[in-house]
Each structure stands twice: as structure tokens, then as C-alpha cells.
């Protein structure tokens, strides 16, 4: 069995599982946020009308709550969602509730790794589609909707069909102008937004082993955009060091046997170009150089995909001592990342370049707030989706790219290959 199959076998208390098996698996960790949280509360309200009451959460210590989509509250409804969620969390004794304005908080997926809330070998379910992100820690991390999360909260289990696994072997030395974002955009362009539907996407190879944890997280984050059930990377010394910097909790790493994959793809990283996904799909990739000169109105550096500390460092490297030519926003993905960026002088660089530096939140990524696009506005962004109307008006456009490309484009007001601005 490979790593995904082994984790499912352990979680479902079986000796072995095969692709196609349908099992109920025990959940090790569970996450809800300020959209799925109220959604789950609504599900429990509907169940209660039909005589099914939630007496208690199966294990409140295995649950955490993040406030990230509509915070700080921009309107009355959002404010009421937060107070309702807070009361509910208290009632059901969920202690790990990361509240905005009260210390550490941020985007749910960013917290999952920044706080090492999920450990290698665990089965983790999140009420958000980018839960796949956390698979970079060597966990089985699966996104679910409100009903499934409600079921898991009540029973500590959820059904899962064992997926086939596609292997992506990344080899060679990563050039300095290439980031994990370019690699995953290339992969999605090759296989399509349903290329990994219902499957696991596993990343391996020396280029993965050389990558920092934050870069690995970018890879697994965007497996959601290929339709994958989960994205995963076997844990190693890099994983252990990252976890140990954040948590003393013990864990039992799981790695796969030498078992065959459904399909294998090999990418020679040295041969890649910076890639940009054109409107209106993450699979619509083209080389940044091919799109050179496409005018953009806004640059957005944010989200669980593209505002981790190394993402901010990459952008700052380009913007240092310069001024942006178009409206630019930087929203660090978590409070702890914001603080680290501040101590490294990165926030100064962004502010002096003229950018807005905003609070940790999902922000404009899902068209919530913090810089929604108007009709005909064109944005280049470190986020993960550019479907019609994703970041604002149905006739706005978003180009997805790495932090290096977005920062370079902010300097020029056009899509720009970072090699053209790096000295």
C-alpha cells in the first residue's frame, strides 16, 4: 500500500485496503471556519427538528475553529455568524478557537501547519476544499461539506472511498526564479481541473525532498484545483524539523511500501518556466513570458496558497526599494507569519513600495472583502482559483501566479517574468 492507503487502513482499523473500497474511517483531527462552522450549526439545527440532537462533540480536543473568510467582520451578518460560532464552540467545549484580535489567528489551512495542528500519519477532515494543503505534512487531509463534517463531529468517523493514487515525481534543481506555484500550475495545465478527480496526488522525487515545507504546502494546496481527494507528501527530516519547531506532540510517521501507482508523471524542474493561469481556469496555464505585456490593474499577494512566510520573502525580494505601479495588496496568511515578516523587515518593504498590508484573512481570494474586483478589472494573484466572478464582478479577470511573478507584475503594471526584474 502507498501512504494514502496505509493511513486509510489504520484509520479504518483494517490490515489492508485497496482503491475502490468504501470504508468508515476514524477521524484524528477536524476543522471548521467562519463559513463552514455556521453551516455545520445549521445542519445540527435541521437534524434537531427531526429528532437527532448533538449531545456532545465526539472529542472536542481534536477539533479547532478558525475565523478567516469574513473577518474582521465587515457587516452585521458576518458579525452575528462570529458570535453564534463563539457561543456554540463554548457550549460544546471546543477550546482551540483562533479568534481574530486575540493573538494567533489566520487562514484555516495556514494554521493547520503553522501550529502543527495535524501530524504525519493522521486522518484529518476540514470544512473547506483546500484542506488538501495539510497533506504536505504526510497526513491524509480531505475536504468535506457541512453535513459530512457534522456527521464526523458527532460520530468521530466518516465514510471514504479509497482513491487511486497518481504519482508526480519532481526531479532536478529548482532554479531561483521557479517556485512550487509554477510547478503545480504546470501540472494542473497538463492534467486539467478534473485530471485527478476522486484521486490522491502524491509528490515525490529529489526536488520535493529539497523543498522547504512551505513550498511543499503550495503543491498540495492546489491539488484541490485538479479535483483530487487529497494531496500528499511522505514525511521526512524536513517534516520532522518543521513539526518539532511547533509542537512537542509525538507522532508515528507513515510511509508507503514500494507499491504501483495508477499513473506516474515526471517533471524536470530545471526545464520549467514561470507559469501563469489565465482566466477563467486554473488549468489555463501559459508561460509568463508568453503573456508579457498583458496589462493588469491589481496585484494580490495573499491566501493559504501564496502568503506564507517564504512567499512574502519572495515578493519582498522583488519589491525592495521599489514602488508598485498598480494597486497592490499583501495579506499575510496568519498572525504569526505577519509578525515574523515584520521582524524581518518585509512589512516595511511592502509599505514603502506603496502596497496595502492587510490583516490575515482569506480576503479577496473568494470575493469576500479586502479588495473585490470591479467590472473589467484584471488582477494577478497568488491565490488558487480564477473561475468567473471568483474575486468580484463576473466580468473581472484573475491571472494566477507565483509571488515572484505577482511582485514583478506589480512593478511593471503588466504580467512580468521575474527574471526580467531580478538583477
Amino acid at each position: 500500500m502507498n501512504i494514502t492507503e496505509k493511513i486509510i487502513a489504520r484509520a479504518s482499523e483494517r490490515n489492508t485496503v485497496s482503491p475502490g473500497d468504501v470504508v468508515f474511517a476514524n477521524v484524528d483531527k477536524l476543522m471548521i471556519h467562519d463559513v463552514s462552522g455556521p453551516g455545520v450549526i445549521k445542519v445540527f439545527e435541521e437534524w434537531a427538528k427531526r429528532g437527532i440532537e448533538l449531545e456532545k462533540v465526539w472529542n472536542p480536543d481534536k477539533v479547532w475553529i478558525s475565523e478567516d473568510h469574513f473577518v474582521p467582520s465587515a457587516d452585521r451578518i458576518s458579525a452575528e455568524n462570529i458570535t453564534k460560532l463563539t457561543e456554540w464552540a463554548k457550549k460544546f467545549e471546543i477550546k482551540k478557537h483562533f479568534k481574530y484580535g486575540l493573538g494567533q489567528y489566520g487562514i484555516c489551512h495556514t494554521l493547520s501547519h503553522e501550529e502543527a495542528l495535524v501530524l504525519p500519519g493522521e486522518f484529518y477532515v476540514g470544512g473547506d476544499s483546500h484542506t488538501n494543503t495539510t497533506g504536505a505534512l504526510g497526513a491524509l487531509a480531505v475536504g468535506l461539506g457541512h453535513t459530512d463534517i457534522a456527521y464526523a463531529m458527532m460520530h468521530g468517523r466518516i465514510w471514504l472511498k479509497v482513491p487511486e493514487t497518481m504519482l508526480f515525481r519532481l526531479i532536478g534543481n529548482k532554479p531561483s526564479h521557479i517556485m512550487a506555484k509554477d510547478i503545480i500550475l504546470k501540472i494542473i495545465s497538463d492534467i486539467g481541473t478534473d485530471g485527478a478527480n476522486y484521486k490522491a496526488m502524491e509528490f515525490a522525487g529529489d526536488a520535493v525532498r529539497e523543498m522547504s515545507m512551505e513550498e511543499r504546502l503550495t503543491l498540495t494546496n492546489m491539488t484541490t484545483e485538479a479535483g483530487a481527494k487529497n494531496g500528499i507528501i511522505e514525511p521526512d527530516a524536513v517534516t520532522d524539523k518543521y513539526i518539532r519547531q511547533r509542537s512537542a506532540n509525538p507522532y508515528k510517521p507513515i510511509v508507503g511500501d514500494d507499491s504501483p501507482y495508477l499513473e506516474e508523471y515526471t517533471y524536470e524542474i530545471e526545464k520549467l518556466e514561470p507559469i501563469v493561469a489565465k482566466p477563467f481556469s486554473p488549468q489555463n496555464g501559459a508561460a509568463a513570458r508568453e503573456l508579457q505585456g498583458v496589462e493588469v490593474n491589481k496585484a494580490y499577494i495573499g491566501s493559504c496558497t501564496g502568503a506564507k512566510l517564504e512567499d512574502l520573502r519572495s515578493a519582498a525580494q522583488i519589491l525592495k526599494g521599489k514602488k508598485v505601479k498598480i494597486r497592490t495588496e499583501v495579506l499575510p496568511a496568519a498572525q504569526s507569519i505577519y509578525i515574523k515578516a515584520m521582524k524581518e523587515g518585509l512589512i516595511d518593504i511592502f509599505m514603502e513600495a506603496g502596497a496595502v498590508v492587510g490583516p490575515p484573512t482569506c480576503g479577496a481570494c473568494c470575493g469576500a472583502h479586502m479588495g473585490i474586483l470591479a467590472k473589467d478589472e484584471i488582477c494577478v494573484s497568488t491565490t488558487n482559483r480564477n473561475f468567473p466572478g471568483r474575486m468580484g464582478h463576473i466580468e473581472s479577470q484573475t491571472y494566477l501566479a507565483s509571488p515572484l511573478v505577482v511582485a514583478a507584475s506589480a512593478l511593471k503594471g503588466k504580467i512580468t517574468d521575474p527574471r526580467d526584474v531580478i538583477k
Partner: protein
């Protein structure tokens, strides 16, 4: 069980949940309020067109993108009883079934081409068959896998006994 209704065809592939229920409405959880915004990203008049028991017909990978359960809730509450498509994204499919909101029915790609917008359909769930009354043609539906069938038959995951 036989379902009868009019089909509303949006034949594009990859209709994602941002289109089905746009981001700004995610703060809403009231089902009837959400239903007013169903498919607003592609057709702001959708909720006014649909009658109770109608069907939605679409292309590959319907419901891709965000996990928002608001999407099947909005469709279901403006009257859609089933979505017919060659393939569905996984979280959307699970939400439909486990939440008991509507039936996700998988068909051949060629079926999509032979049913027109506003056709009258009769769908026999037990026989896995679609009868297009408007053009007389019949099409088969991929049978539900065993666990999915059990969850559908009991009305949703909350009623399901492991």
C-alpha cells in the same frame, strides 16, 4: 420512484460552486434566502425560472471548486430535484447525497447532447432511466454505488446506520 419535471440546460463543463453560489453569499445560511442566488454567476434569473421538481442538466465536473454546501442547498431550495451530468466534483456529489438535497445523476456525454433546454423529462430512479418526453428518447443513468444508494434511500447521512 419517478421524477417528472422540466430540464434547465447549462451545457458547459466545469461549472464551479462560485458560479452556483457566489462568494459574497457564503455568510448566508438561511435556505430560502440562498435559493434566490442559485446559479447567479451564470444566470441571475435562474431561481425565477425553476419550478419545484425541475432538473438541471450540465457538463463534466459539475460543482467543482469550493466545498460550499450552500451550492446544493440553493439549487434544491429553488426546486431542483436532480442534477444530470457526465461527471461531478467529489465534494459537491457528497453534499448532494449526504445532505439529502438532490440527486446527482451521472450520464454519458452523448446524453447531454441529445436533451434540449426546456424538455420534459421523466426519470425512473429504480430503473436508472431518463425518458425525454419532448423527443421520445430514452437514456440510461449510471447506477448509484451501494453505499450511496443506501444513504439516498434513507434520506441522507444523518439517518444512515453504519
Amino acid at each position: 420512484m419517478t421524477l417528472k419535471g422540466t430540464v434547465h440546460k447549462y451545457g458547459k463543463d466545469n461549472i464551479d460552486t462560485d458560479v452556483i453560489l457566489p462568494g459574497p453569499y457564503l455568510k448566508i445560511h438561511d435556505h430560502s434566502e440562498l435559493s434566490k442566488h442559485a446559479m447567479e454567476g451564470i444566470d441571475p434569473n435562474f431561481s425565477k425560472k425553476v419550478s419545484k421538481g425541475d432538473f438541471l442538466l450540465s457538463g463534466n465536473n459539475f460543482g467543482c471548486g469550493s466545498s460550499r454546501e450552500h451550492a446544493p442547498i440553493a439549487l434544491s431550495h429553488c426546486g431542483i430535484s436532480a442534477v444530470i451530468a457526465p461527471s461531478f466534483a467529489r465534494i459537491f456529489y457528497r453534499n448532494c447525497v449526504d445532505g439529502g438535497y438532490l440527486l446527482p445523476l451521472e450520464v454519458e456525454k452523448s446524453t447531454l447532447e441529445q436533451i434540449s433546454d426546456k424538455d420534459s423529462l421523466e426519470i425512473d430512479i429504480e430503473k436508472n432511466e431518463i425518458h425525454d418526453i419532448s423527443n421520445g428518447k430514452k437514456f440510461s443513468i449510471l447506477p448509484f454505488p451501494p453505499l450511496i444508494k443506501k444513504i439516498i434511500d434513507c434520506g441522507g447521512l444523518m439517518y444512515y446506520k453504519e
